[in-house]
Amino acid sequence: MNARPLTLSDAVAEFVHDGDTVALEGFTHLIPFAAGHEIIRQGRRDLTLVRMTPDIIYDQLIGMGCVSKLIFSWAGNPGAGSLHRFRDAVENGYPHPLEIEEHSHAGMAVRYQASASGLPFGVLRGYAGTDLSQLSPTIRWITCPFTGEELAAVPALSIDVSVICAQQADRRGNVMMWGITGVQKEAVLSAKHSVVLVEEIVDDFTPHVNAVVLPSWTIDAVSVVPSGSYPSYSEDYSERANDFYAQWEGISRDRVAFHAWMTNHVLETKDHAAFMESLTAIGVTT
C-alpha cells in the first residue's frame, strides 16, 4: 500500500504509541527534530529509542521523561559537548532511570542491516577484548563454519516505527534523500511502520549524487514539514544551525533551564512552524 499524506501530528498520533520501540534516525544530516518535538507534545511514555548517534532531540525526549530505554552507539553533541539530559538520566536517574543497550557503530549498523534483511542476526569482526562484549547479552560469538574464525554476532533490531527526514517526495509518495544518508534506508526497512518528513512534494525527482529512493509502498506516511530537521540540516534546503548545537550545552546542563526552554519552545508551540517562530521571536536566526 502506498504512503499516505498525513500531518506530522496525525502521523505521530497514529504510528507512535506508548511503549513502542522507535528509531528517529539521521547522521548529523536530516535528523527528524520536528517528529521528536511532536512526540514530546503528545506526551508519549515508556519509549525504547534506537539510534546510532542520539543527539539533542534524544536528549530532549529523555529529559522530558518519554524514554525508558536507549539503544545506541554514540551519545553526544558532536563538537559541542555532552548530552546533559542523557547523562543526568544515566548518572543520577533523573527524571527516571534509563536502561541502556549500547554497541559500537559497526555493531549497530550490522543490527540494522540484519533487520532490513529479514535475518535474526548479523556478523562482524569486532568487539574482541572490549568490556562491552563482556557485559552485553546482545553480543555473542559465532564460529565461521569454513575457517573456524571466531566472530561477533549481534541480534537484528526490532523496531515498531522509524521516522526519518528526506528532502523530497513525489506525488505517489516515493521519497528521495541525498547527501549523507546514514542508516536511514535500513531504519525504514527494519521497522514495522515508517513515517517520512519531507521538505516538499515534487512532480519528478532530479538526479542527485548518492540519492536514495524509498518506494512509496515501503512507507506508511509522508508529512511535509519544511525545515523539519532544524537545527540539523537538509542538503540543498538548509544549513546546519551549529550555533544552536553549541548553545544546547548551556540550556541542557541545568534542569530548570532545560524545562523552561522545552515549555516555551516545544510544549507551548502547536507545531513545527510555531516552534520555528518561537525561536525567531527570541532572536535566533532559523
Binding site: T28, G126, A128, G129, G182, V212, N242
Partner: protein, 262 residues
C-alpha cells in the same frame, strides 16, 4: 584576529596547536585515513593542506575522499559530502570500507588511555552508575582493530593516562600474546599517541607505549607527573620539531574559516 597574527610572527603556539601539528605529521603520502570528530579531523585536514595533499580522508558518515577546506563542526557536515569522491551509507562504510581493511590509518581521541593503548570513551566510575557518562564506543572498537595502524590524540593528564581503565571501550594491544597475534592479522593497532606534551610510540619489545619525543619546553618530569603509570622514557628520546610557520598559518587559516562559517 590581531592576536593570532602576533603569535604567528613570534612562532608561538598553544598546546592544542602543537598536538594537532604533530599528529598531522603522522599522515604522509597516499595514506587512506579514517577520521573521527574534533582534533583528529583538524589534524587530517591540516596534513592535506600542508605536506600530505594526497592523503584520502574517509569519514564514518559515509564520505569517502572528502576534501574540506575548512574545519567541519561535525563529521556529518555538508562540506564533507559535497567534496567527497563518493558518499555511501553508514553500514557500508563500516563493512565494505573499514572492516574490509581498506583504511591505512585510524585517528582516534579518547577520555582515558593505558600503557597498551587501550582506550575508554564509555564511562568514568562504575558502568552501571558512572560518575561521568561518556558518549560511548562510536566507531572506535572496530577502527582500532581494522585499520592498518591507529593514531591516538588526547591532552596529557594523570586523569586521562591511567594505570587501569574504568572501561575498555576499544582494545589497543592485548596483554595476552596469543590474542595479540590474532588481532595483528587485521592491523597493527595503535602505534602512536600524540599529546600536548609529547609523542609516545608503541614498542613491541616492552609491549608498552614509550615516550619518544618531548615537545619544546616540556621536561620528562612534566610527562611523568601527568601519566598515571611509570611510563618508559625511550633511550632515543628526541625533542619534537616545533610547528613551522607554514603549519601554524594553515592551521589557523582553516580554524578561522570554520569560525566564520558559524
Amino acid at each position: 584576529m590581531t592576536e593570532v597574527a602576533e603569535i604567528d610572527t613570534a612562532l608561538e603556539w598553544t598546546s592544542d596547536e602543537i598536538m594537532t601539528v604533530v599528529a598531522a605529521r603522522e599522515l604522509t603520502g597516499e595514506m587512506v585515513c579514517f577520521v573521527g570528530i574534533g582534533l583528529p579531523s583538524k589534524a587530517a585536514i591540516l596534513a592535506r593542506a600542508t605536506h600530505a595533499p594526497n592523503v584520502t580522508l574517509v569519514y564514518e558518515s559515509g564520505c569517502i575522499g572528502a576534501k574540506p577546506d575548512r574545519l567541519p563542526p561535525s563529521i556529518g557536515d555538508g562540506v564533507l559530502s559535497r567534496t567527497a569522491d563518493a558518499v555511501v551509507s553508514v553500514p557500508e562504510i563500516f563493512s565494505y570500507w573499514l572492516q574490509a581493511g581498506r583504511i591505512d590509518v585510524g585517528f582516534l581521541g579518547a577520555a582515558q588511555v593505558d600503557k597498551r593503548g587501550n582506550i575508554n570513551t564509555t564511562a568514568v566510575g562504575e558502568y552501571d552508575r558512572p560518575t561521568v557518562r561518556l558518549p560511548g564506543a562510536g566507531g572506535a572498537p572496530e577502527i582500532t582493530t581494522s585499520c592498518g595502524t591507529v593514531i591516538i590524540t588526547l591532552r596529557h593528564s594523570a586523569r586521562a593516562f591511567v594505570e587501569k581503565l574504568d572501561f575498555v571501550t576499544s582494545v589497543g594491544h592485548f596483554e595476552d600474546e596469543e590474542l595479540e597475534r590474532q588481532r595483528a592479522r587485521h592491523g597493527h593497532g595503535p602505534q602512536v599517541i600524540v599529546t600536548d606534551l609529547c609523542v609516545l610510540r608503541y614498542q613491541p619489545s616492552s609491549r608498552e607505549f614509550e615516550v619518544t619525543s618531548l615537545h619544546p619546553g616540556v621536561s620528562v618530569e612534566d610527562v611523568l607527573a601527568q601519566t598515571g603509570w611509570p611510563v618508559i622514557i625511550s633511550d632515543d628520546l628526541e625533542e619534537t620539531a616545533p610547528p613551522t610557520k607554514e603549519e601554524l598559518a594553515a592551521l589557523r587559516r582553516f580554524s578561522e574559516s570554520s569560525a566564520h562559517s558559524r
